[in-house]
Symmetry: C2
């Protein structure tokens, strides 16, 4: 019997390091097989991204952003998003990031789904939203090292691109997965 559906019990937790964007900790945990192991995990704030939808001449267009990413070392095309601040609702974070990165304010923010970015070692949650009834109300409002270009693409063309460079951010495929399921439910 593999015990794959049983939970473990954390018996000890040791903080390892605080890297600001996440903290590393080591858990000692007792499994259903009666053995203990040690596992490194990362605690990070929750993240939120938003698929911003503009309806123009009867067609749907999606706003996206391009920015250099320091992990991969390449420019990445993404939906707007970022960190959920302490005490902030995920939907509010999505709307705030949309405004900061694109200057667009959303009349309606719809929760499409939430999941774990990587449950093997990440303890936080990733939230996905759609934004509708968009109005351009401001310029970008970015941090010192945030350099973000905004683009607008027909919905079908954009969804066809997600998964190939520069649309190579796994969490953007996750967001597209939720978005596409939502559209399929809505179009029923």
């Amino acid at each position: 019997m593999a015990h794959g559906t049983e939970t473990w019990t954390v018996t000890e937790r040791r903080e390892l390091a605080d890297y600001r964007i996440f903290k590393a900790a080591e858990l000692r945990s007792l499994g259903p097989h009666g053995k203990e192991g040690r596992f490194v995990i990362l605690d990070a704030p929750d993240w939120a991204v938003v698929v911003p939808v503009v309806v123009r001449e009867g067609g749907r267009f999606i706003l996206s952003v391009r920015q250099y990413r320091h992990g991969s070392g390449v420019v990445s095309a993404e939906f707007p998003g970022g960190v959920v601040e302490p005490g902030e609702a995920p939907a509010a974070a999505a709307a705030r990031e949309l405004l900061e990165e694109t200057g667009y304010s959303a009349g309606r923010v719809v929760h499409l789904g939430s999941c774990s970015p990587n449950p093997a070692f990440m303890a936080n949650t990733f939230h996905v939203f759609a934004a509708e009834d968009l109005s351009l109300v401001a310029g970008q409002s970015l941090d010192e090292h945030e350099l973000v270009d905004v683009e607008e693409t027909p919905e079908d063309e954009l969804l066809a691109r997600v998964g190939e460079p520069p649309w190579s951010h796994a969490l953007m495929m996750t967001a597209a997965w939720y978005y596409r399921k939502w559209r399929e439910r809505s179009d029923l």
Copy 2:
């Protein structure tokens, strides 16, 4: 001008810690805006997952696994997968993980796509495969703390579940995204 499509130049790299499943490093990097910043990144081996497809009585079924995950602290339903070992081809890693976790050997392994798990701070690559012509050739061959249950689900039922608990691993939605695109191309 936002400079979002221009790359940065790493001017210094400092190793911070080795946590075995990944190493933390701090990069000093010069941006197209003429300023330098410091960014923490994680170096990890590449990861591979495989969507194993069984054809039975004309219908397609997908094999998946359930296991407790120490980051999220809950049981997670996933496609088989794991770390690509040094010198190992990603497709070979996918076939090996499939065999170890389920006992199935694959006659055909198809590359569906590759991307970055999280380009903001992860330096590694995530590879997605489909496996076909499966034969049950062995029992599970798991590590000491790997407790994995195997399941078989009709393809349409499984794809409907991905995104809701226990199918809450973002990278599994990424894999499902690639898989669905591949099916749509194949069914043309």
